[in-house]
């Protein structure tokens, strides 16, 4: 029982990271009808920005954190203008290929600067964690879960309670009609890219102390997050979060009870099972109704 609680905590912690990246996938998909294959690289770039400022330059952790997030917002702007905007009137295919190209560019730019050896980033807190009864709560996992809960509430408030959120939703549902009402479609898509880049960056910064900071971390997280969006029901915000958490828990239990080397395999096993037996995902019907 103790072990189960411990695994559940760890699984939710890592699942929260997948959920944040999956949320970025879903928001960009809904705004542009395109899957952004560079979403994982946003996480990787942000983790390296933390290495630059907090480790190499030795600046305070919180300051490095703010600079890294600002850097991600800037990357969101550049990504929108450089990758999406020039192709916005084309079909989805050239845009998807451009995002794959951008992900290769980002990964190899970082590789050229930092080389292949993984970097180490400390966690936010000095204390490694606290013992709560039988369960040891790692401080970094606590932070990840706390930030994710806050972001889920923020996301709900932003999209459901603010006029700007409604304009973003309107844009994702019918761009031409949105423009007829005077909603600036290009501004709305810009905001979506900035928000998604910051979300992805946040996930990367939070998970970096748990993993190593490496070139591959982006693609690993993105694959899991992508699986999470399919499990949750592609295009559904709640589905992305539930799917991410479920995936984190499943792979943690799989690693503990079945096989550690096959840890990553469990995520994809679940993905394949969903694609065969429930391809619309957990919240699939809701997405279909909205379409």
């Amino acid at each position: 029982m103790d072990l189960i609680l411990q695994l559940l905590f760890t699984g939710i912690g890592i699942g929260a990271v997948y959920a944040l990246v999956a949320l970025g996938f879903v928001l960009i998909f809904r705004a542009t009808n395109v899957v952004n294959f560079a979403q994982g690289e946003f996480s990787m770039v942000a983790a390296y920005l933390m290495v630059v400022f907090a480790v190499d330059l030795g600046w305070p952790y919180w300051l490095s954190f703010l600079i890294a997030l600002a850097g991600m917002a800037l990357l969101g702007v550049i990504f929108n203008l450089g990758v999406y905007y020039p192709l916005r009137h084309r079909t989805y295919l050239p845009v998807i290929i451009a995002t794959i190209g951008a992900s290769i560019l980002l990964a190899n730019s970082v590789l050229a600067i930092y080389g292949p050896q993984p970097q180490v980033l400390q966690g936010w807190f000095e204390t490694p964690g606290i013992q709560l009864g039988p369960v040891y709560l790692d401080s970094q996992y606590l932070l990840i879960i706390g930030v994710t809960i806050l972001l889920v509430f923020f996301n709900f408030w932003f999209f459901e309670k603010t006029l700007l959120g409604k304009k973003l939703q309107a844009t994702s549902q019918d761009k031409e009609m949105a423009s007829l009402l005077g909603i600036s479609v290009s501004t709305m898509i810009m905001i979506t890219f900035i928000y998604s880049a910051v979300l992805g960056g946040l996930a990367g910064i939070l998970v970096a102390p748990v993993l190593f900071v490496s070139i591959q971390m982006g693609s690993t997280i993105a694959l899991k997050a992508f699986a999470a969006t399919i499990i949750g029901g592609f295009g559904d915000v709640a589905g992305a979060i539930i799917g991410g958490l479920a995936l984190g828990v499943i792979e943690t239990f799989g690693a503990a009870y079945i096989s550690v080397p096959y840890k990553d395999g469990f995520a994809f096993l679940v993905l394949v099972a969903f694609l065969i037996f429930r391809p619309q995902g957990i919240f699939g019907e809701r997405v279909a109704e909205k379409a």
């Binding site: 603010t162 006029l163 409604k166 304009k167 939703q169 309107a170 549902q173 019918d174 031409e176 009609m177 949105a178 423009s179 007829l180 009402l181 005077g182 909603i183 600036s184 479609v185 109704e289 909205k290 379409a291």
Partner: protein, 242 residues
């Protein structure tokens, strides 16, 4: 001076010439109806005015100022609101949210817009009960009401209405046209209709489009009076109407 003046407007979609030199004028305070068969270019004319279709040549003057070539976001800010074909109510937003977004062309606080949206239900009492209902669950008539209410939230000086009667039951069509005759007290309206009888019943002036050209224009009774034309373009019930 006309509020809207279109001079020799040509719009091409690739090889196809959808409009081949259309000229119309809409005076302030008028309801002007554009009649014609499917594919005559009625919707294209409205899309060119609101900036969704780029004119190939010719000019569109709004209040004496050329708006040809401006984008839709800029044109709605000048005070032209387009309620397009098919209603285009956002399916995943509520009725009230849809209506509130109609004010996106002007500066106003969210609470002010919310109050104005509530007031809009006085003009459209049939959809008041559906304020918090998502768009995709509504019927065609309700969608049309929401679309017109949303169009009016822009406080337009010129309202473009594309086929408001399309696909609606006759009793709903009458409700929609009652609203149009109320709207006209404050707003100039350019109305596109296939239903000539309803379209002309509220109009001060009518034009008939045929394959991208204006073939006839005049006051509604002049149009009904021209028997050959009435038979060809207006459904052939001129005498019954007269």
């Amino acid at each position: 001076m006309p509020l809207l003046e279109i001079n020799n407007l040509v719009v091409r979609y690739g090889e196809i010439e959808a409009l081949r030199g259309v000229s119309i004028a809409v005076e302030p305070g008028q309801v002007v109806t554009l009649l014609g068969a499917n594919g005559a270019g009625k919707s294209t004319t409205l899309r060119a005015i609101s900036g969704l279709a780029k004119p190939t040549s010719g000019d569109i003057l709004f209040d004496g100022r050329s708006i040809a070539g401006l984008g839709p976001e800029a044109i709605v800010r000048l005070g032209i609101s387009h309620v397009p074909e098919g209603r285009r109510v956002f399916p995943g937003l509520t009725v009230k949210e849809n209506i509130m977004l109609g004010a996106s062309n002007r500066k106003a606080s969210a609470s002010q817009i919310s109050r104005e949206a509530d007031a809009m239900f006085d003009l459209f009492p049939d959809i008041r009960a559906f304020s918090d209902t998502l768009g995709w669950t509504l019927s065609g008539g309700q969608l049309q009401m929401v679309a017109v209410a949303r169009g009016l939230m822009a406080k337009p000086r010129l309202l473009l209405l594309d086929e408001p009667s399309l696909g609606l039951a006759p009793v709903i069509v009458q409700a929609v046209f009652r609203i149009i005759s109320q709207i006209r007290k404050d707003t100039t309206v350019l109305l596109v209709e296939q239903n000539a009888r309803m379209g002309l019943s509220v109009a001060d002036h009518g034009f008939v489009l045929e394959t991208g050209r204006i073939v006839l224009g005049g006051k509604p009774d002049e149009l009904w009076g021209n028997e050959a034309i009435a038979a060809a373009y207006l459904g052939g019930h001129a005498k019954v109407h007269a």
